[in-house]
């Protein structure tokens, strides 16, 4: 039986199709989840995709955080279910307090879309276990409000506990503190990532296929944790 990975569509989600494609290419069964349904349909893991949920009009992710689907999702995440929030999904995870910190307007004030070099700095989280430590990858980045901020204590704690999962290399594209591109929670099952691995899964359309690693990682950890048969 292959793993079933849910992809939530909120009003204004844009990269949900891309996340579904990435999950499928990684070898899992993708399950579409609807924001207004308070059920996860028994999936093994969830991706919160990129986009502009509710137009990002109040604060990014602030309105989506209260969607009915988030109630079972927050509970499942606290119980250890792997959850990956990409871009807007990362913002929703921060607004839900599943991850610390917040995402703020890019320091240069422009939306930016570029092929971004990253360094993977954690290989134990549910979504990064298939990478090598300090492996360099290139995936697209696109955001208007992607600057990760947190107080100094939290930043020290994230670094001290190895919870920074990826850092920007060469260029810090949005003013993120300490070049942080992604983080995970204490248990390592919830990951927030500002760049878009789901746009780097096919040589034809992406700068690389480096993004696949996040999705194959979760399949591996589901098997390792006995959630799914190999």
């Amino acid at each position: 039986m292959s793993s079933r990975i849910g992809v939530v569509t909120f009003p204004g989600s844009l990269d949900d199709r891309d996340a579904i494609r990435a999950v499928t290419l990684a070898g899992a069964e993708a399950v579409s989840l609807w924001h207004a349904d308070a059920t996860l349909q028994g999936v093994d893991a969830v991706v919160l995709p990129g986009g502009f949920s509710y137009g990002d009009y109040l604060r990014c992710g602030a309105i989506a955080r209260f969607a009915p689907v988030m109630e079972p999702l927050i509970k499942a995440a606290r119980d250890g279910m792997p959850v990956l929030g990409i871009c807007n999904g990362f913002q929703i995870l921060c607004e839900s307090h599943l991850l610390p910190g917040a995402l703020t307007r890019n320091d240069h004030l422009h939306f930016i879309c570029r092929d971004q070099r990253l360094q993977i700095t954690n290989t134990t989280s549910a979504w990064t276990s298939n990478f090598d430590m300090n492996q360099e990858i290139v995936v697209p980045l696109k955001n208007g409000e992607g600057g990760f901020v947190a107080d100094e204590r939290t930043l020290d704690q994230l670094e001290g506990e190895g919870r920074v999962i990826a850092r920007y290399l060469e260029v810090n594209p949005n003013g993120s503190r300490r070049d942080i591109a992604g983080i995970c929670n204490e248990a390592g099952n919830v990951v927030g990532l500002m760049p878009h691995p789901e746009h780097a899964v096919e040589a034809l359309t992406g700068p690389t296929v480096d993004g696949l690693g996040f999705f194959t990682s979760v399949l591996k950890s589901l098997v390792d944790n006995g959630k799914v048969l190999a």
């Binding site: 509710y54 137009g55 009009y57 109040l58 309105i63 209260f66």
Partner: protein, 81 residues
Amino acid sequence: MAIVVVDVALKPEILDPQGRAVQGALGRLGLHGVTDVRQGKQFVLTIDGEVTADKLDEIKKIAETLLSNPVIEDFTVEVKA
């Protein structure tokens, strides 16, 4: 030292998508009876010295040309302390 607060909001006749999105969320979270939400911006200017009439005129000029876009926005200027 004086504080001058400039509030900028979309003109009433201009569509405010942000306000509408927030209004929708209020209903879903159980706060009913809110018939409209308008979202604006507030600028708090700390002024060195006294805010004279001339100074206030200058600030109003800036509010009109820089802080707001008179094509779509209104502003108010208020001197606080």
